[in-house]
């Protein structure tokens, strides 16, 4: 059976269609116009922010790149000291709206091919994500009646092709009153970037790899 997936994020009040994840300095208003990039270099005291972008705007999700707490929370914006709460609200959401898929794997590849990792960011194991797969019951995303784990969460997991990933697992559309999902949520992190990283733009893509009939 084929599968239909929606890729969205929740900005705290409404769902947005994700078009890009951007890592750039956080010294700009949020929301800001899509495509805007900070001209202040991260590093040397300026942190690297996490932004989600839809077709019109970009939204600052994190002011810094810090590891996430090893727990999942669907409605908590409060950062604890030294860590960030991993919440669905601040995550990218892959939501199954029809069908089912097998052998799913969240990982990162370089460029447009989705199958090579010859990229400094990936080779240095700097691309990480915290991820969780579940379905939920209720009518409000931020206050579900219940959450059922499909795959246990993985926190601060390095993503690099077939070497490091979150998976493998199966997902499917849940039918039933007020059932929603399955949902794969994750928050990308660029962690421990060294000062000697080559100057420039490093394109890579985080993908959900899956199979269907």
């Amino acid at each position: 059976m084929a599968i239909t997936l929606e890729t969205k994020f929740y900005d705290g009040s409404a769902w947005k269609n994700l078009s890009k994840v951007v890592f750039t300095s956080p010294n700009m208003d949020s929301p800001n116009t899509a495509g805007t990039r900070s001209h202040i270099f991260p590093g040397g005291g300026i942190p690297l922010g996490l932004w989600y972008e839809d077709a019109s705007n970009m939204y600052r999700i994190e002011d810094d790149q810090i590891l996430t707490d090893t727990q999942y929370d669907n409605d908590d914006y409060t950062a604890t000291s030294g860590t960030s709460i991993f919440s669905g609200v601040r995550s990218v959401n892959f939501t199954v709206t029809e069908g089912e898929a097998y052998d799913c794997r969240l990982t990162a590849w370089d460029d447009v091919t989705h199958n090579t990792t010859s990229n400094e960011v990936l080779q240095g194991d700097y691309c990480k994500a915290s991820a969780y797969c579940y379905y939920w019951e209720g009518t409000t995303y931020t206050t579900p009646d219940s959450i059922t784990t499909v795959v246990s969460g993985s926190y601060n997991q390095t993503l690099k092709g077939d070497t490091f990933y979150y998976g493998d697992f199966d997902i499917r559309y849940r039918t039933g009153t007020n059932l929603n999902g399955d949902v794969v949520v994750f928050k990308p992190i660029l962690y421990n970037i060294p000062g000697l990283l080559s100057y420039g733009i490093h394109d890579f893509v985080i993908t959900l790899h899956y199979s269907y009939t």
Binding site: M1, A2, L5, T7, L18, S19, K20, V21, V92, F94, Y102, D103, W109, D110, D111, V112, T113, H114, N115, T116, S118, N119, E120, P188, S198, Y199, G200, I201, H202, D203, F204, V205, I206, T207, L208, H209, Y210, S211, Y212, T213
Partner: protein, 146 residues
Amino acid sequence: MVQDLKTYGIYNTVTTVDPYDCRFLAGYPDGRMIRGKNFIDTGWDDIPQGLAALRYSLSTGHIITILKFRAYLPLIEVSLGIDGSKMFHSINVKCLADKEVLVYSIILKQTPDSKLKIGDVVISKEGLPTEFGKSWKYTDRGFSWR
């Protein structure tokens, strides 16, 4: 100091099939031929059991004939990027033999430096599955009473 702004990781190019113009062709003993819809919504789960032949037609003109086994389970392998990009990697046709499963992987994309090109077939082997879902389609030699 002015530096040239380099962009890393976008120089490679990829060529892929048109998933809307690829499909399976399922033949039956009475001469019927059922054409799949495409690779987005294949229609595989809706076809009847008892296949006599299975082929794949790619948008590139490749026709790949799968040898006859006891049953087939085709799995299309794709990746969905958070930027909305979608890549069709291969279709992996699991073929049930007497004591094992052979997997025919039909390549659906290529890059300038990739060894495998669109339409190439890689055959691998795996153990028998523990269960058979409804997506397994038996051939006319696949039933146990034959």
